[in-house]
Assembly symmetry: C2
Homo-oligomer: 201 residues x 2
């Protein structure tokens, strides 16, 4: 749609919506129209929610999580096991682990993974405070919950080296068959790992 049809304001809204992951130019138009039609029940509440989020969202100075309080809800929770730090690349990974109720410890969000090809080095990661946190007397284990990709594993090795002289266990997530997964569809690396790390039934 050229900007001559529905006014530059609507065109601008569509362009910005199209930059959200999951929306393309076509679905952004549909989303804009949906918002306009649901002005009171959706467009105005969403605008208010965005304003509130802009005003209140902050990065946790302890772990790098995104929250509306600092330290974040996880770091402030007295029921969390402070001897365990789970290192993730991104807040999305933290959210995924929380949805799975997989972690009762604390987190450390790196913000990225090392990627020499993309010019991302240790100085681009939230990694200095991890070195300090992992050396705190009450910390017993650091779990590297990083993607099973080259960059993720490069980052895992870097952190393992960095924490070599610290008095902590450094562990990683298990490889294996996804729950509900079919063997026939799995790659050979996953199947080999699942076989090597087999557990008593």
């Amino acid at each position: 749609m050229s900007s001559a049809i529905a006014g530059p304001e609507i065109e601008r809204l569509i362009q910005l919506l199209a930059r959200l992951p999951g929306l393309g130019p076509r679905s952004a138009r549909r989303a804009a129209l949906h918002l306009i039609k649901k002005r009171e029940t959706l467009m105005e509440p969403l605008t208010t929610a965005l304003q509130t989020a802009i005003a209140r969202i902050t990065v946790c100075e302890v772990c790098g999580n995104i929250d509306t309080q600092n330290p974040c809800t996880v770091c402030s929770d007295p029921r969390r096991d402070r001897s365990l730090i789970v290192v993730v690349a991104d807040v999305a990974d933290l959210w995924a682990l929380e949805r799975a109720h997989a972690v009762n410890g604390l987190y450390h969000v790196l913000g990225a993974t090392l990627s020499p090809l993309d010019g991302i080095g240790p100085q681009d990661l939230n990694i200095d405070t991890l070195a300090a946190r992992a050396r705190a007397p009450d910390v017993k284990e650091v779990v590297l919950a990083l993607n099973a990709t080259v960059d993720g594993q490069t980052t895992a090795h870097y952190i393992t080296d960095m924490l070599g002289d610290a008095d902590v266990r450094v562990t990683g997530l298990a490889h294996g068959v996804p729950v509900g997964g079919e063997l026939d569809y799995l790659d050979e690396g996953t199947l080999s790992a699942a076989m090597r790390q087999r557990t008593p039934f």
Copy 2:
């Protein structure tokens, strides 16, 4: 994600984003995180664009189009052919025809189609002003660009009856093979219509 993890403000934002067409709960979380990370380049501009749209968007009193001016950009355009009115069910259809540069006339947006099963009758449509517009001396043709569904065709018949005594041609969009479409995948109704309405090559 429970609201205890990232604060109720972020949870609220995710819930509202999930109500956009094309986004589900999972992609809404991803969209929220993307917005938070691109606060200055995306979240703040989007909030401003929404505020501007809320303040300025209006419905064209002539044709029912959504725009930031009234009468809308199409109705105000002096280069448009005022003898032609293209009737559409929804603003989305108007946008689709404009994207295709398929229409150089004016539009009339009904806002819905007749649907006895859903209790949508003529009084629920922006149809009274169409009767008056179609009878204006400079109007020569009314094109019913309605969906080729039962409701769309019911609406088309209703409007054809309504304009029976008006001095205008009432036409509909052609049926046929979509450009780029493969015959093998087309339904029998479309193929029959395309054969009946075949054109010289």
